[in-house]
């Protein structure tokens, strides 16, 4: 089912011409939302970096690093939508797994040595 839909999507332009339907406005809307999303994620990543650098305690830095990892994952998803490529989507699962591993390591470090300042 999915593969047949994907093959149909390849010929969507000719189908639109044949059926006299304009489907491009939804795509332009989606790409507009993607552009807004890239800017918004840039702002949130910068805000997370600010908390990462300034965070008064070690725990705040750990939380900011965890959040930052998932936001970079979201940025990769936006890249996949924008470039219409299947290539970069492999990075999503890998980066979420690495983010979880780093969170666990950070939590272990805090439990052993992370005395509050």
């Amino acid at each position: 089912m999915m593969f047949t839909l994907a093959q149909h999507v390849e010929h969507a332009a000719e189908a639109a011409v044949a059926a006299d339907i304009d489907a491009t406005w939804a795509r332009s809307l989606l790409f507009g939302v993607v552009d807004v999303g890239v800017v918004a994620l840039f702002v949130t990543i910068m805000w997370c970096l600010y908390r990462l650098l300034r965070g008064p305690q070690l725990v705040d830095r750990a939380i900011a690093a965890d959040t930052l990892g998932l936001q970079v994952v979201g940025l990769v998803v936006l890249l996949t939508i924008k470039l219409e490529s299947l290539m970069y989507f492999d990075a999503v699962l890998i980066m979420s797994i690495m983010g979880f591993a780093s969170t666990v390591a950070f939590a272990q470090y805090i439990a052993r040595h992370g005395k509050p300042v």
């Binding site: 999303g37 702002v43 989507f89 992370g114």
Partner: protein
């Protein structure tokens, strides 16, 4: 209902899901910067960022109706929905154990109350203690402690 309709509805659903995810991402980071203590920050970011990533991945699914994207996105959604709460819980528990203070106006700290009342310090499991130690220290049945009572029964 031909391929162009599916194309249009898919892109529209993707735009809606993407807006949903973006809203939660931004709200999570605002919470990260505005809450007064680390536990409040965890409370804000974990749920919001998990939901935001859900919206992003649903948008990717709806945009490209492709089996490769669908499989990887569903795997990532399941993984993130399990792993992100677990990681945040680990950070919170480690911070509580390391002695990070709660905000002044926090109403209750039940984990600290349980630690003080000794309800969390349980004896080791019987099959983990070797024979000599068990013979030397017979387990004392603490009648006031509900967990030990349940264990003795």
């Amino acid at each position: 209902m031909n391929a162009t309709h599916i194309h249009l509805v898919g892109d529209l659903l993707a735009a809606i899901c993407l807006s949903f995810g973006l809203f939660f991402m931004v709200v999570g980071v605002i919470g990260l910067n505005r809450f007064p203590d680390a536990y409040g920050r965890l409370h804000a970011t974990t749920k919001c960022v998990t939901l935001g990533l859900l919206g992003f991945l649903l948008a990717a699914i709806f945009h490209r109706l492709h089996l490769a994207i669908f499989t990887k996105a569903v795997m990532t959604i399941i993984f993130v929905f399990i792993a992100n709460p677990v990681g945040s819980h680990m950070i919170a528990k480690a911070a509580h154990k390391a002695g990070y203070k709660l905000w002044d106006k926090t109403l209750s700290d039940e984990l600290a109350e349980d630690r003080e009342s000794g309800r969390l310090t349980q004896p080791p499991e019987p099959h983990l203690v070797d024979e000599a130690t068990r013979a030397a220290n017979p387990p004392a049945a603490d009648v006031d402690d509900p967990i030990s009572m349940k264990r003795a029964m």
